[in-house]
Amino acid sequence: MLAIVRLFAIARERAGRAVIEVELADGANVGDLKAALACEVPSLALLLPTIRIAVNSDYADDNSPIPPGADLAAIPPVSGGCEPGIRR
């Protein structure tokens, strides 16, 4: 199945595009998607450990299945609100 993934913030800038399309096996999960993204866009590989994947606007772990036609997005650590992110 074709997975269409939206990219945001540093992920979008590193990849040089806002959307990536990757081909996944039917029944693929989020971990498979991350591996496919790293392969398709090597410049994202270093970021991927910190990126969460959203499936239909909810955060999903690596074992989560990807339904056909799902809305997918790569979510770097968020920093909305006001102060600089919590810099622990």
Binding site: F8, A9, G80, G81, C82, E83, P84, G85, R87
Partner: protein
């Protein structure tokens, strides 16, 4: 009220929108663009959102806050785009019967917002450099995004 907008935020109008005759307290929080971060001077900030998911997560935050506190009305509004120094990036306003409820709910909402709502900020420094702020990826004072491979 749950909203992501490119327009300047009217914090007084947003605060007014949560007032109620049942409320004994209204608490508003404003996030504003700060000029100095340590020794570094900010020229402007750029905010980017994943709007569909951000709105969903903001609605979930409001629902969870309503489970925890007797909230009468709540408003969560975030601005995106380019913001100048001193401008308001976010307004959270909450009304409750009693003040400690409103203050606690407002604080929980802003603290949790910053962990889960997909909105990102890029610092445009006065020296012309730019830097995405991604907590956990930006070692303090690194001047970079902390993503270069270790030497």
């Amino acid at each position: 009220m749950i909203e992501i907008t490119e327009l300047p935020l009217d914090h007084a109008a947003i605060t007014d929108s949560v007032r109620s005759n049942l409320a004994g307290a209204v608490c508003s929080f404003l996030g504003t663009v700060r000029e100095m971060t340590g020794e570094r001077r900010t020229a402007m900030l750029e905010y980017e959102a994943y709007p569909e998911m951000a709105l969903k997560k903001m609605a979930e935050l409001e629902a969870e806050a309503r489970r925890r506190w007797p909230i009468l009305e709540a408003a969560l509004v975030h601005r995106v785009g380019t913001l100048s120094l001193g401008e308001i990036s976010i307004v959270i306003a909450v009304s409750c019967p009693h003040r400690h409820q409103a203050i606690d709910a407002c604080r929980w909402l802003i603290d949790t917002f910053k962990d889960v709502v997909p909105v990102w900020k890029k610092e445009v420094w006065a020296d012309g450099t730019e830097e995405w702020v991604h907590p956990g990826m930006n070692p303090p004072g690194s001047g970079g995004d902390g993503l270069e491979p270790p030497l």
